[in-house]
């Protein structure tokens, strides 16, 4: 008995040491630093919200479509709201919805992927076919379809407490589940033949125990990488769905929604209502991708 305890703690210690080393490496990489700075900036905006904006982002204060000027650095939008305030405030909704969707998606996907990868058999066969089918279709398309068709469902309304944001979180999470499951499944398949798993089986441990206590810690690497990548995709997806009108709804200062609203103003050379939210989306996704990229390179060593 004591022998196994020692092996366990040795393995855990080894993992902890590796993690600390990774963290130190990560901290030195310029892309990680830049990415974190950008992301932290937007997270701060999301948390502080309208406490730091010069104007109330939901209220119109002056004439519509004013050019950028002192007092209104980014100009005003179609109904006279200050765009600078709305860009700052717009971080909140997307940083609430997208990471939640990504985390939920990774959670569902990990559970599914582990079951599929560990159990194999008909469960694996069935779900693999299912996943293949779903992956054949573009994520945006399925999301758009579901959200368009679900416009008036009382059942869905009840499940999501009539919160559109919650509905979007669930749907995007569901959209990401298949691909996360596939990644996790491959990782699990790679692990299940290894010695420590066999020894755990010999010890008589249950499947759930093996999956959660033995395998899971060893595949955290790919899972973390997957999570950070998914957050980037989630921001992209949520913005696009909001742009198409089926995601986050009015009068939220959400960036995708703002771009959709401001589109017809471009013709009149009124470029500022879409440019600043667009830059916001771009910088946020770049920041998140930089973090994801650096984590990925560190774990790939």
């Amino acid at each position: 008995m004591s022998a196994t305890v020692d092996t366990l703690s040795a393995a855990t210690q080894e993992r902890r040491r590796a993690r600390r080393e990774n963290w130190h490496l990560l901290r030195r990489r310029p892309s990680f630093i830049i990415g974190s700075l950008i992301s932290l900036f937007w997270i701060a905006c999301a948390i502080l919200g309208d406490h730091v904006t010069p104007y109330n982002p939901l209220n119109y204060t002056t004439k519509p479509t004013l050019t950028p000027r002192s007092g209104h650095w980014f100009g005003t939008d179609k109904i006279g709201r200050d765009i600078f305030s709305r860009v700052i405030a717009g971080a909140r909704d997307v940083l609430l919805v997208a990471p939640a969707a990504a985390v939920l998606g990774v959670l569902f996907g990990t559970i599914l992927g582990m079951i599929m990868g560990y159990r194999r058999g008909w469960v694996d066969l069935l779900f693999s076919r299912f996943i293949e089918a779903l992956l054949a279709l573009p994520v945006i398309l399925i999301g758009l379809l579901i959200l368009t068709l679900a416009d008036t469902s009382p059942l869905l309304g009840a499940i999501t407490f009539h919160s559109r944001k919650l509905l979007v979180i669930y749907i995007v999470a569901l959209l990401f589940t298949p691909i996360v499951a596939r990644t996790v499944r491959s990782a699990v398949i790679g692990e299940r033949e290894l010695d420590y798993v066999t020894s755990a089986k010999l010890r008589g441990e249950s499947g759930v125990y093996i999956m959660s206590r033995e395998i899971l810690p060893n595949i955290m690497g790919p899972i973390i990488v997957e999570l950070t990548v998914r957050i980037g995709y989630a921001i992209f997806t949520v913005s696009t769905l909001s742009f198409l009108g089926v995601g986050i709804q009015r009068p939220s200062p959400d960036w995708g929604l703002a771009i959709s609203d401001g589109r017809d103003l471009l013709r009149a050379n009124i470029w500022w209502p879409i440019t600043f939210p667009a830059l916001a989306i771009a910088t946020l996704v770049v920041g998140v991708n930089l973090i994801a990229d650096s984590i990925q390179s560190v774990y790939d060593r």
Partner: protein, 320 residues
């Protein structure tokens, strides 16, 4: 090889059936009355009920399902519910598919060579400023949603510089050159996004290949850089790149609703969006299947191409 292709085709059929079923269930379970939506709010209830019978909405669940499957097998997609004179395939999907193909083709034509070359250059000049630059650009541009790029391109290059056409409404009977001119803006918007993915994949594949033993052997044997690249690196680096490109194909046809909306180009994605909004179920179901077929065909083609490029992969396939 043949066994492999046959097996893949069989699996594809299963996948197709699954997709059909999923979409059918989605449409049936999610609410909304297609007959009412099609008739409009002013239509008297009697005529809406008549429409329900006509569209087969009152038939038992499985009989409706069977009809969809039968349509798929016999390739008879029937008529649009919204406008019953128009055949789903000939009148809606085929023209939309044609339009989407032109756009996707142009986008790939622009992106692929550029991205592959960029990836190679980045791999060769690993960790230099050029490499970092290409990776940064790739990362940045692939993050920006295409509807944003499309709108900005429209303003700068369309309205101000007049180099591109901001609206892709191609006049009828245009020459090929004119058509290309109109398609350039949406294609560029798409290209800017996909450049990043493909370039980075190429870079990582090429970098791995450049570090491998046989390349070192080849260089030692005295082959020039160019020959090395052509004979060895390309073949191996292209494999993951081709995979990435094939996986994106479905997106290029069905996922670019943002670009299509911004440039008023009515491709497959627009048809699907309209069908969903109008609850025109036959169009919706078969359009989604078309996209799935394109995706599966593209990935199959990609795998075969990789096998042809890299004999070792062929062995893997045969044993798969």
């Amino acid at each position: 090889m043949l066994r492999y292709v046959a097996k893949r085709l069989l699996l594809s059929l299963v996948t197709l059936w699954l997709i059909t079923t999923i979409v059918f269930l989605m449409v049936k379970l999610l609410p909304g009355d297609p007959a009412r939506a099609l008739s409009g709010p002013q239509a008297p209830e009697a005529s809406v009920e008549a429409l329900r019978f006509k569209l087969g909405l009152k038939d038992p669940f499985f009989s409706q399902y069977w009809r969809v499957l039968k349509g798929l097998v016999t390739l008879d997609f029937g008529h649009s519910w919204r406008n019953q004179r128009i055949e789903v395939w000939k009148g809606l999907l085929a023209p939309a598919l044609f339009r989407s193909s032109k756009l996707a083709g142009l986008a790939m034509l622009i992106t692929a060579p550029l991205a592959i070359v960029a990836g190679l250059v980045a791999a060769r000049k690993r960790d230099t400023l050029i490499d970092r630059g290409i990776v940064m650009v790739g990362l940045a541009t692939s993050s920006i949603p295409e509807f944003v790029t499309g709108a900005l391109l429209a303003v700068v290059f369309g309205l101000n510089l007049h180099w591109l056409k901001p609206i892709a409404s191609i006049p009828r009977h245009s020459s090929v050159i004119t058509q290309l001119h109109y398609l350039l803006l949406p294609a560029l918007a798409m290209a800017i996004v996909y450049f990043g993915y493909i370039a980075r994949m190429m870079r990582s594949g090429a970098a791995k290949a450049l570090e491998s033993d046989y390349v070192r052997t080849a260089t030692m044997k005295g082959l020039t850089d160019g020959q090395v690249i052509r004979r060895h690196v390309l073949r191996n680096a292209l494999a993951p790149t081709i995979t990435v490109m094939s996986v994106q194909i479905g997106y290029l046809f069905g996922g670019i609703i943002g670009v299509e909306a911004v440039t008023n180009y009515q491709g497959l994605a627009t048809v699907i969006l309209n069908a969903a909004t109008n609850k025109d179920l036959p169009v919706l179901q078969y359009a989604v299947i078309v996209i799935a077929v394109i995706y599966m065909a593209a990935t199959l083609l990609a795998d075969i191409t990789i096998a042809w490029l890299n004999p070792r992969a062929r062995l893997d396939l045969d044993s798969a």
